[in-house]
Subunit: 197 residues, 2 copies
DNA sequence: ATTATCTATAGATCTATAGATAATGC
DNA sequence: ATTATCTATAGATCTATAGATAATGC
């Protein structure tokens, strides 16, 4: 189908360019949100970072909220945690990796903090995300330990604690990286869950 | 000293009135910050809640930042945690109490989240607060268990975990109160720290 | 022809200052 | 006389819409 081919290859080029631009914008948005939060991030600040005017940016994302939604959807990175294939002893390494990317952690933490306020466009996203993350964590814990962890908890009781430790440590670490050994603390917690060794 | 007396009683009345007004404003600010965060909170919204114009409010607090500082200083409530007199088994009850005051928890959590962004006026406050809270928690743990907790951790290693659990659970609970038993989870964690019983 | 980007601009806000007026307490 | 509050307003922003112009790819 030459016609179809021409069409789709044309489109492919166009969307490739467009996707590139969108990706640039999303990267910039991620940075600006890390620095100022979503409410404090202006479209103009994001646009400037990719050499566009604010109105030029709105060609790619029709509203500020659409931009945030795209940022949230893009970032399965911060959903890299779960999946039934996961092994618990990878968690320490994952946190070590996060500790090398303070920007991402800061964007995530700023958005999570804002999301508890009323009418925040990320609220539903985070609510659903935590439902899923708790379930996945419980699965991972069950795969590792069965119905009862060495520490005595069921996977379902341990999961929210594990998630809370990860999130809570991020705030302490972002505020005072020198004072908090985030990966070390996570490993401490895993040992606590898993019994003496 | 009749003169001194008259002076101070006059002042006492004035400051009493003024303090009352300031307290009203701080309460309103707490609410508005819970709903919209600090950056999203407008002076006009706070003022309206106490029946003032925005300019009238600025008579009591000269800038928006001064208002936030006053809010943070006022709230030793969220610093009610530490002190060497504390007993660890009160923590569950404290969290139970917090679970009945979602407004306060939400204000705290929204501010903590925002505070990791650049140039946020609460950043230094939270950084210092966590240094102190970790130290106090370590002391409390040491008073209870000595140099080594039953779970195997030192007080200094356990303290950031305990604090992280408290903060992290608050976000999960604020987003989905039905799904998260915050006081129960805290008690689970305390048992984990303290060994089987 | 379509897509990307720009200029112009409307319409809301927002913080903060200046200065007038009312209320309070000697 | 001091304190509390108000009106008026400056000066910045901010998001979003309308419509023109440039670039891209048939």
């Amino acid at each position: 189908m030459p016609y179809g081919d021409r069409m789709s290859s044309t489109r492919a080029v166009r969307t490739a360019r467009s996707h590139e631009r969108r990706a640039e914008i999303l990267r910039a948005a991620l940075e600006v949100i890390a620095e100022r939060g979503y409410r404090g991030a202006s479209l103009a600040a994001v646009a400037e970072r990719v050499g566009l005017t604010q109105q030029g940016l709105l060609h790619h994302f029709p509203t500020k909220e659409a931009l945030l939604v795209a940022v949230l959807e893009e970032r399965d990175q911060w959903d890299a945690v779960p999946s039934s294939q996961w092994r618990l002893d990878l968690l320490g390494s994952l946190v070590e990796y996060n500790a090398m990317r303070p920007g991402i952690v800061q964007t995530f933490s700023a958005l999570l903090g804002e999301s508890v306020t009323e009418g925040h466009p990320a609220r539903e996203f985070f609510t659903q995300r935590y439902v899923g993350v708790r379930e996945s964590m419980a699965e991972v814990l069950r795969a590792e330990y069965g119905e009862r962890l060495p520490g005595g908890l069921t996977p379902e009781r341990a999961a929210p604690l594990l998630v809370a430790v990860l999130d809570g440590l991020q705030y302490q670490w972002l505020l005072d990286p020198e004072a908090v050994d985030m990966p070390g603390a996570v490993r401490d917690f895993l040992e606590l869950l898993g019994g003496e060794g």
